[in-house]
């Protein structure tokens, strides 16, 4: 669904991404892993057109996303930090996005219900706690039944119950054939959710393949140890 070819990006004097090749295959969950500052969020923002690559191409279903807008109607995005216009209510926000997307399919309020957001949506977003805002943030990403969901550290700030609900949603949507790109620093979570792994270090993809391949190549039993090995190897190289 997403193909990145030789994508590079620099901010000032820093080369954040240096020729990244990455695929997110349809119907699969791709985990993007890397240390802080590896460029994971930049990568995600470039898929959405929030940042523009300096070089390389990003294809969505085979079409270059540069100067395109319409494809974003097929993406649900859950950003890392959930900050909204403080005087609007959650319901206003949902209505606004529905309005902007102008979709004909009925919205998916399952996550709104399961996270028990009903009452919270009537309040101005400014009075909601950080965790509740994060729940609204998650519900927004799933709301339009998008084909591709991009979740940037989705469970950060969520309590265990909510984060389990969110993970169940990921499993459910994945079973329906939808595609995910997820970043996280919690390896156990990614191990549970993902099919494929892309490991980003110093602006390039050091490993790209299935979870099983990663474990086999590194001869480790779980994702956390496999990534730790890749990191130490990367530091030695």
């Amino acid at each position: 669904m997403i193909e990145m070819r030789g994508v590079s990006k620099r901010f000032g004097r820093v080369d954040v991404l240096r020729g990244v090749d990455l695929d997110a295959r349809t119907g699969r969950v791709t985990a993007v892993i890397g240390p802080n500052g590896a460029g994971k969020t930049t990568l995600i923002k470039m898929i959405l057109g929030l940042a523009r690559p300096d070089g390389g191409r990003i294809l969505f279903d085979g079409r270059d996303v540069a100067n395109e807008v319409g494809y974003r109607a097929r993406i649900g995005y859950m950003p890392q930090i959930a900050r909204f216009p403080e005087n609007l209510t959650g319901a206003d926000l949902l209505a606004m996005l529905e309005d902007l997307r102008g979709g004909t399919t009925p919205v998916d309020r399952e996550l709104v219900e399961r996270l028990a957001l009903g009452d919270q949506l009537a309040k101005p977003l400014r009075v909601l706690s950080g965790g509740t805002r994060q729940k609204v943030n998650a519900a927004l990403a799933f709301l339009f039944r998008p084909e591709l969901l991009i979740l940037d550290e989705p469970t950060a700030g969520l309590d265990p119950v909510s984060s389990s609900i969110l993970k169940d949603e990921v499993h459910r949507a994945r079973a329906e054939g939808r595609t995910f790109i997820i970043t996280s620093h919690i390896m156990s979570e990614l191990e549970e959710l993902s099919d494929d792994v892309a490991f980003l270090l110093d602006g390039t993809v050091r490993f790209s393949g299935t979870l099983e391949e990663l474990k086999r190549v590194t001869r480790q039993a779980n994702l956390e140890r496999a990534i730790a090995q890749l990191m130490t190897r990367g530091a030695a190289a």
Binding site: L50, P85, N87, L100
Partner: protein, 272 residues
């Protein structure tokens, strides 16, 4: 571009305006802003004698307060709305639409707050004749233009500078330059170059300052040459009242259009 897509482009902008306006209007800032103008205008009409004198006092308040509040509130608002802007950019919306929506959604409630605050007391106390009505209309127009200009400058700052503190500092510095430092510079120039013909440089200086343009535009309506200041007197002598008014309004329009065009250009290239 087909008509259909142009229509949907229009409506996306209107939708952004609608939601942003309801967000801005619900913030207590705009209410306080409107209330401030209401109280000041009401007090001037009650205690300041006739409507013309109240209007004259209002001119100075409008010239001082509107640029300050608009540029500071605008810059702050845009920094705080950054994540929201990102959320909107992740939707199927063109950057141009979003920019237009954000701008109008901010400039419109500020303008309406000002118009309601000044207009309501006059509606309550009644107008003292057609001339006074025309002057009030001129004041309203100047206020809306100043709001548009300084909202545009706020966009320019917020799009360009990533750092909120720096941006806020820049906003205040720009306001100081236009509203305070400028007058000192004019005086200094006049006293240093007293022996030279200063008319043209003075007009150039005036065109470079939207606040001064608005001031001269408004004071040309009153018969008070003494308040016009050096630049105003020169301006009126050079262009006469009628052409002067048109020129002042035109340049104020440019002061709105140029920062907006530049802001849009930067906004379209910006990485969020």
């Amino acid at each position: 571009m087909s008509r259909m897509s142009r229509m949907s482009r229009m409506s996306a902008t209107t939708k952004v305006i609608k939601y942003e306006m309801s967000n801005v209007v619900r913030s207590r800032w705009v209410l306080a802003y409107a209330l401030f103008f209401f109280l000041v205008t009401d007090a001037l009409l009650r205690f300041g004698g006739d409507g013309t004198r109240a209007l004259l006092s209002l001119v100075n308040i409008v010239l001082f307060i509107i640029p300050l509040v608009t540029i500071v509130f605008g810059t702050m608002y845009l920094y705080d709305a950054r994540e929201f802007t990102e959320l909107l950019l992740a939707q199927p919306v063109h950057r141009r639409q979003l920019f237009a929506g954000l701008y109008v959604g901010l400039a419109l409630p500020l303008s309406l707050g000002f118009l309601a605050g000044v207009g309501l007391p006059f509606a309550l106390h009644g107008l003292g004749g057609a001339t006074e009505g025309a002057t009030l209309a001129a004041l309203a127009l100047a206020g809306v233009l100043l709001t548009s200009v300084f909202t545009a400058i706020a966009f320019l700052i917020a799009v360009r500078s990533e750092d909120k503190v720096k941006g806020l500092g820049l906003a205040i510095a720009i306001w100081l330059a236009f509203a305070v430092v400028y007058d000192g510079l004019v005086l200094l120039a006049v006293s240093i170059f007293a022996d030279y013909p200063l008319e043209r440089p003075m007009v150039a200086m005036m065109l470079a300052n939207p606040v001064d343009l608005a001031r001269v535009f408004l004071l040309m309506r009153f018969d008070v040459a003494a308040l016009m200041g050096y630049t105003g007197a020169v301006f009126e002598r050079l262009f006469g009242t009628e052409r002067g008014v048109i020129l002042a309004l035109g340049v104020l329009g440019a002061w709105c259009a140029v920062p907006l065009a530049l802001g849009l250009r930067w906004f379209q290239r910006k990485d969020f």
